[in-house]
């Protein structure tokens, strides 16, 4: 035993990774550091640093002007706030209705064609997810004019991809035995969908819808900035006129709304699962 130990002491090498692994790991870290430094220099070049060093004072100044909030202003905010909630709700509803067929077409086990239809459905999902609802709103305001309809559609367009993605993943994970059992009764394609698949993913649809609704409340608060209705319109106006006491009222109101909607969303999802 002791001889063995001595031999080992002369020549002990233990490394967490192989030499190649070491090079790869250090290389990856180096690349990240390098990318960060270069990117930061790029940003720094177009930044006026005097303004940045000034930021604490600016922040303090902002805060001192925002406090106390002008509570009286809240009376004109109820209507836009209600619009905001409605845009989120209607947009989510529309997205669920549109998202279900997209998900069915995208799921490997329900799509009519893996080669043709599935990639198309997946592209719709990626395209919808890639574009923020605010950008959808920006485009829609140009096309159909300002107002809550543009906002609702923007919410719907952004949410279709989100709902479609989560739902098609849920459909791909269903129990195939129930589907086979339905098929064995001689049911048509549509009947299999309605009897073998939908009952299994119904809780998922509800859960995903409520989850997205909660996110959409947040998103809807800013759509007014580009003219698509909701409380963002008042925010835009208040910021433009430097009416900071109004801004603080709006932000507090948004905070309260979002906390309530998150609470509702969590409770509903708990009740479903």
């Amino acid at each position: 035993m002791s001889g063995n130990t001595e031999a080992l002491k002369q020549n002990v090498v233990w490394r967490r990774r192989t030499p190649q692994g070491d090079v790869l790991a250090w290389g990856a870290w180096l690349a990240i550091v390098l990318a960060t430094v270069l990117s930061f220099r790029q940003i720094s070049n177009v930044t006026i640093w005097d303004f940045v060093w000034d930021a604490p004072q600016q922040g303090a100044d902002l805060l001192s002007r925002a406090v106390p909030p002008r509570w009286g202003y809240a009376s004109v905010l109820w209507k836009p706030l209600w619009d905001t909630v409605n845009m989120a709700t209607m947009g989510t509803l529309a997205a669920v209705i549109l998202g279900i067929p997209v998900a069915v077409l995208a799921a490997r086990n329900t799509t009519p064609s893996v080669l043709l239809v599935r990639p198309l459905a997946l592209f719709v999902i990626v395209a919808s997810r890639s574009i923020n609802s605010l950008i959808w709103a920006l485009v829609l305001v140009v096309i159909i004019g300002p107002g809550p309809l543009a906002g609702t559609l923007a919410i719907a367009l952004r949410s279709v991809g989100f709902i479609g993605k989560l739902l098609y993943e849920a459909i791909e994970e269903i129990d195939p035995v129930q589907v086979e059992a339905t098929e064995a009764t001689g049911a048509s394609r549509a009947q299999v969908l309605a009897w073998g698949i939908m009952p299994q993913v119904a809780p998922a649809i509800a859960g995903i819808g409520v989850f997205r609704w909660d996110i959409n409340i947040r998103e809807a608060t800013v759509l007014g900035l580009v003219g698509a209705g909701g409380i963002g319109l008042q925010l835009e106006a208040s910021v433009a006129t430097l009416a900071w006491p109004q801004v603080s009222v709006i932000l507090l109101l948004i905070l309260a709304t979002v906390i309530v909607s998150e609470w509702v969303s969590v409770r509903v999802r708990q009740a479903i699962t």
């Binding site: 035993m1 063995n4 130990t5 080992l8 002491k9 002990v12 090498v13």
Partner: protein, 194 residues
């Protein structure tokens, strides 16, 4: 300290688990970059050879069987160069054969190193087979203290409560496996190897 259910870092390798026994003696950054002193690495290798895991050094702990995992646990404990080994139900999730192998390994290592071990165990047969001294506790009070062969049905009743102990104390290894856990939860038995 040797743990019930091993308490290994499942996603790290056997060697990293062994070296983790030296954490208290190595600075944070050395441990972060896995730059342990060569003497520590040598000791870990020696111990892994001793417990029969030398070719497992770079396997992840979660790829090992229960008996192998507990061997890694033993190596980790010995890496701390302890003066006293605390062992908490080392065989709680092992089959009878592996349990005996692990207990024998602990006994051998303790003898080699002149080490004392305090083992907390509910398997009466294992305790009688490997321990040199048995201390029985009931609700925190010592109710038995003596050599293994003086542990009789009366002593077991004093520790665990009334039960038919004949099979447990039978000649040789016929142990009913479901006997291990006592009906009274606060009862603890201690077997000391000195």
């Amino acid at each position: 300290m040797i743990f019930q259910e091993y308490a290994l870092i499942e996603r790290l390798t056997v060697m990293e688990n062994a070296l983790s026994g030296r954490l208290g003696y190595v600075g944070f950054w050395r441990s972060w970059f896995r730059r342990f002193p060569t003497t520590d690495v040598a000791e870990a290798f020696t111990l892994l050879i001793r417990v029969g895991l030398s070719d497992m050094a770079n396997k992840r702990a979660d790829a090992l069987s229960g008996g192998q995992r507990q061997r890694v646990g033993i190596v980790r404990a010995l890496m701390q160069r302890p003066e006293l080994l605390l062992v908490d139900e080392p065989t709680a999730s092992l089959d009878p054969k592996t349990s005996r192998q692990i207990m024998r390994l602990i006994l051998e290592l303790c003898t080699e190193r002149g080490l004392a071990a305090i083992i907390n165990i509910h398997d009466v047969a294992l305790a009688r087979q490997f321990a040199q001294r048995i201390v029985g506790l009931r609700a925190g009070v010592i109710v038995f203290d003596g050599p293994p062969n003086s542990l009789d049905a009366a002593a077991l009743t004093a520790i665990y409560g009334d039960e038919d102990w004949t099979a447990t104390l039978g000649h040789g290894g016929k142990v009913a496996e479901d006997e291990h856990r006592s009906a009274v939860p606060e009862v603890e038995r201690l077997a000391g190897l000195a």
